[in-house]
């Protein structure tokens, strides 16, 4: 709605709309015709705007049932309720970030679009999110923000980069079955006893699904010690039903092939490295005595990128703000772009002739000339962001709604879901109304040309 309102001065800003309004006004004559013409609109405004506002104010002084007057009791509850205060805090974050970000991006896109071909097409594309209902946008973003890279588009993009940089290991999720196998550097594991040539190492792992064992795997066997060599076996130390001996190779337990195994000397230097074979066996020869530690390096276990929890309690508000910016940036671009199109080129040319750099032209000429329009856009966005509701409801999972809450949503939750408390709901509505009024007043004054 506010789009159309503010688009009007946008188109006409250079015609000094304000000045026309400042011309001496004729005193309205009250006669039957005037009243007749005003009556339908007046009735409409009275019935659907003035009356509900007054009724809401009155209702805010009554209790939940609506039958007893509680004075400012509801307001007291609103401001002592942590949830409302948290919602207010989120609204402040919204007001600080959202209008400035959208206006800034709008100016940037509008100025840049002046210089590229197909600008109508790009502008249309940028504007398209405005044509989608906010609830639908919310649903789209909610899916894009899913944590699992299998479903969330954003995390899928990050995953494709992250997994290319750090290759996920094949044995993701596997964990030691025996207590002497301990966490080593990163996600790796180290056998907590020193080994000398002739020793046998048993490395049992669990929590690894049978479906992901490589097809080449064969049943593991207890390796026989070999003189001069450190041998060992790495296997899936799990017997269905939890039977079998922990740390011992029981019949039927599968070897884990292609596991990278390292021997590390007491100084922490890797002395040898090998891979396990199909039965999970590995052997290190050519050892010059001494003792070693056996390490399964982290590369075996690197988990694939698990996804950023965009909709967790800490990131949910920024995530929703980003979605809102996506929706609104087209509006700012088109509005400011329209102003830019009507701006006199002579001034820009004159500045360039005088030797101004492009940045100086932008900073000293374009921005000042656009500033009335930028303020209109900014104010429109402030009003819109104060009553932000649908995007939050659609994007935030139920469990993080207390973290993502905003005033309008709190109003809805209090008044229209389980609680059904219209008294407190009305109080929140009145409070929201009071927040919007100064901004609204400022905007109306601008429309009248008060500052032009």
């Amino acid at each position: 709605m506010s789009t159309t309102v503010s688009a009007a001065p946008a188109a006409g800003v250079d015609e000094r709309l304000g000045r026309a309004a400042q011309a001496p006004r004729q005193e309205p004559k009250w006669n039957l015709t005037t009243v007749g013409f005003l009556l339908p609109a007046g009735l409409f405004v009275g019935l659907f705007i003035v009356y509900p506002v007054i009724a809401t104010v009155i209702r805010s002084f009554f209790n939940r049932a609506g039958d007893s007057f509680v004075g400012f009791g509801n307001y007291g509850q609103v401001f002592s309720d942590g949830r409302t205060l948290h919602a207010l805090q989120n609204n402040i974050i919204w007001v600080v970030i959202f209008p400035a970000a959208v206006t800034g991006l709008g100016v940037l896109f509008a100025v840049l679009l002046e210089r590229v071909p197909y600008r109508l097409l790009i502008r249309t594309l940028l504007f398209m999110p405005m044509a989608v209902s906010l609830l639908a946008s919310g649903v789209i973003w909610r899916i894009m923000y899913q944590q699992s890279p299998d479903t969330g588009a954003l995390n899928a993009v990050i995953a494709s980069v992250a997994n290319a940089i750090t290759h996920p290991g094949h044995y993701t999720g596997a964990a030691p079955s025996q207590p002497d196998l301990v966490q080593a550097v990163g996600d790796g594991y180290q056998l907590n006893q020193s080994l000398a040539p002739g020793d046998v190492a048993h490395v049992g792992l669990i929590r690894f699904p049978v479906a992901e064992i490589p097809a080449s795997a064969r049943p593991a066997q207890d390796p026989a010690p070999q003189p001069g060599k450190i041998v060992g076996v790495v296997w899936r130390d799990f017997k269905p039903g939890g039977g079998g001996q922990v740390g011992q190779v029981d019949p039927g337990e599968s070897g884990l092939p292609d596991m990278t195994v390292q021997l590390v000397d007491p100084k922490g230097v890797v002395a040898a490295q090998t891979q396990s074979d199909a039965t999970g066996d590995f052997a290190f020869g050519n050892l010059n005595g001494g003792s070693y530690f056996l390490v399964l390096p982290a590369q075996n276990f690197h988990p694939p990128f698990g996804g950023v929890q965009w909709l967790g309690s800490s990131l949910v508000t920024p995530a929703i703000i980003l979605a809102a910016i996506w929706v609104w940036v087209g509006f700012a671009t088109v509005t400011i772009g329209a102003g830019l199109a009507t701006m006199s080129r002579d001034l820009l040319e004159a500045a360039r002739v005088d030797g101004a750099t492009e940045w100086q032209v932008f900073r000293r000429v374009t921005v000042p000339l656009l500033s009335p329009l930028m303020i209109v856009v900014f104010i429109t966005l402030v009003i819109n962001v104060l009553k932000i509701f649908d995007l939050v409801l659609a994007i935030a999972p139920q469990s993080v709604i207390p973290d993502a809450n905003v005033i309008a949503l709190q109003l809805f939750l209090v008044a229209f879901t389980g609680l059904g408390d219209f008294g407190i709901g009305s109080a929140i509505a009145v409070f929201l109304f009071l927040l919007v009024i100064p901004v609204m007043g400022f905007n109306i004054r601008r429309f009248r040309g008060g500052e032009a």
Binding site: I206, R207, E212, G243, S399, G418
Partner: protein, 433 residues
């Protein structure tokens, strides 16, 4: 259950308060039928499919007795509809109430007729004692539980259990062992739909009913004991021991991002994301429908495990038949609905469980429906979903009350004192005491 009642609201909103008659029945008045020509009106909140099945039951009643039974859909606001009909002195003869609280309210107001001794003795014979108690207010018997729902069913992926070599646990100690073994086999044992608060309240209620017993359960439901009671804390400790990060698909923070439908489909898939999901008997429909799984071979359920030797207990819901008039056809209809044959007609059509012991279990269309009904029949303790009985401000509101408090608790499950204090604060506000 929320999903189902939302669906009901939708369906009934469309249907409105249109009065539908069981047409084509009872138009003839053959001799030998005692109630030939008599009429009886029965009101209920059934959805479209439920109504169709129920009308088949009414048709059988008409065939048997000769009376004409008329079905009236009340829409989702059955309390309001009945209230205004009672006020205008023209209540339906019989109504099927979805909430036990409503039975209690109407009985206390004196709107209900005490049921005749023939019906009462039929119920005594056919049902476990708990069901008769649930239909009794101040010593007078008012209601027959015709339909029941089981929310003490734990669903699992059969293949995942097979690969881990585990069998369904009987007790909570067994359950801990099963979960650990499942984890060792490489599958996350539990899927929890913590993004929807009501799944957590159902978990809580099942453990609470078994750990604290039915009397405490009733007291907490009425909020005559506080949420800071030791029994609540002990319940949260049991749950905290189960809800460990390494036992839950996605960990606890992932669970809080998982809505109920996703938590169910997590146990589908090959390999599944998790082996077990707990929720009521309606899970079956999701697993066979959206997840395309086959009962028994792909998935199955086991009753919620016992705790410290608790008797077979079921938490769930039920629809109770009450009578407003002494119309002889109405008396006969209520008695008929207490009989096994009335239950068997609908049971055979699916989507229905009966707590009636005499119902032939072989009529249930599939083994899972049969087993779920069997658990209801054998339940020594049955209690209604506690959060459904609590004021909606506490037990049914997104982002506040019990839902939000249990979600906050799940983030830090060992922070039990803080969680119970918050629960008590919200409960006190909502119950107004």
């Amino acid at each position: 259950m929320k999903g189902r009642s939302a669906l009901r609201a939708l369906v009934l909103g469309v249907v409105g308060a249109v009065v539908l008659t069981a047409c084509g029945t009872g138009s003839t008045t053959p001799s030998g039928k005692p109630l030939a020509g008599k009429k009886v009106e029965i009101a209920a909140v059934w959805s479209k499919d439920e109504q169709k099945n129920f009308e088949a039951v009414l048709a059988a009643f008409s065939d048997k007795t000769g009376a004409t039974a008329t079905f009236t859909s009340t829409g989702d606001k059955i309390g309001t509809v009945l209230g205004s009909r009672i006020a205008s002195n023209s209540p339906p003869d019989v109504a099927v109430l979805p909430q036990p609280g409503l039975l209690h309210d109407l009985a206390v107001k004196g709107s209900l007729k005490e049921l005749d001794s023939a019906t009462a003795s039929l119920v005594s014979q056919n049902y476990a004692a708990v069901w008769k108690d649930l239909g009794t207010v101040n010593g007078k018997f008012y209601g027959v539980f015709y339909k029941a729902a089981n929310k003490s069913t734990v669903w699992y992926n059969v293949k995942a259990f097979g690969q881990a070599g585990v069998t369904p646990p009987k007790s909570i100690d067994d359950a801990t062992r099963v979960l650990t073994t499942l984890a060792a086999s490489g599958v996350k044992p539990l899927s929890i739909g913590g993004a929807d608060g009501w799944t957590l309240t159902d978990w809580f209620e099942n453990v609470y009913l078994r750990l604290a017993g039915p009397d405490k359960y009733d007291a907490l439901t009425k909020h005559t004991i506080k949420w800071t009671d030791d029994s609540v804390k002990a319940t949260l400790r049991v749950l905290a021991a189960l809800f460990q990060d390494q036992l839950i698909a996605g960990g606890r923070s992932g669970a809080l991002q998982t809505d109920f439908p996703t938590s169910v489909s997590n146990i589908a898939g090959n390999p599944p994301k998790a082996a077990i999901v707990y929720e009521g008997d309606f899970v079956e429909g999701i697993l066979t429908g959206t997840a395309h799984m086959t009962p028994i071979t792909d998935f199955n359920f086991f009753p919620f495990p016992d705790i410290n030797g608790s008797p077979p207990s079921v938490m769930g819901g039920g629809d109770v038949v009450v009578r407003f008039t002494d119309n002889p056809a109405a008396v006969e209809l209520v008695k008929y609905l207490a009989s096994p044959e009335a239950a068997q007609i609908w049971a055979a059509k699916g989507g229905f469980s009966s707590a009636n012991k005499k119902v032939d279990l072989s009529v249930y269309p599939d083994p899972i429906a049969k087993a779920s009904a069997q658990a209801l029949v054998n339940a020594q303790v049955f209690r209604f979903d506690m959060s459904d009985q609590a004021p909606a401000a506490f037990g049914g509101t997104t982002g506040s009350g019990e839902w939000a408090d249990l979600q906050a608790w799940l983030k830090a499950p060992n922070n039990i004192d803080a969680a119970t204090a918050q629960l008590e604060k919200d409960a006190a506000a909502a119950y107004g005491s």
